[in-house]
Chain length 115, copies 2
């Protein structure tokens, strides 16, 4: 699982979850509480969001800080590695924006050719 | 399947196969025949290589050209979108090179703490 064939393989393993880039982008703006992330990513189930955050934390790109209040306040932020990752993702995101439509079209089910 | 939540999601879908970045890198150097790719990526099974190439072709980043010879010569190259993708991947690959060791360590099975 942790045997990567190259740096890019490792990077894709870290951001490969469907919503992980969006989480990184939100946290790059500013640290967020769990509830704030949930409101910003309404399409992500609570379970999925929690799992993604745990994996991002394990991979060293997200920092989770618990403030001892009642109720406890949990704040997520990017680590320095996470901030560098978010920057490194931008050119790839731009490429995806430019090519998304063509990729979607190529992956759509084949329709019978018009005659 | 072809519903992407953002450009980066689309880009990751295109390069997410374990060996796809390595194929793009090889083709960025120069166009390659099937046998050349096979020799350069000895750890990839022939079946997996063929499947990756087909998907990269479908996604519009690899061009497959058949020269009518006996036996037929098949040459793979990057399309303009593929060349742009390979460039966009570089910062992410660099990030992965810098962080691969930490990620591997974080993902290794937990060992009992030494006492």
């Amino acid at each position: 699982m942790a045997d990567f064939v190259c740096g890019l393989d490792a990077a894709v393993a870290v951001v490969g979850g469907k919503w992980k880039p969006l989480i990184l982008w939100a946290l790059a703006e500013e640290p967020r509480r769990t509830g704030e992330l949930r409101r910003e990513l309404p399409d992500v189930s609570e379970k999925m969001l929690t799992q993604h955050l745990r994996e991002l934390e394990r991979d060293g790109v997200v920092h989770r800080e618990v403030h001892r209040e009642v109720p406890p306040k949990v704040v997520y932020s990017l680590t320095p590695a996470g901030a560098a990752l978010e920057l490194a993702l931008r050119p790839l995101g731009d490429w995806g924006d430019d090519n998304m439509e063509a990729i979607s079209a190529a992956r759509a089910p084949l329709r019978p050719a018009e005659s």
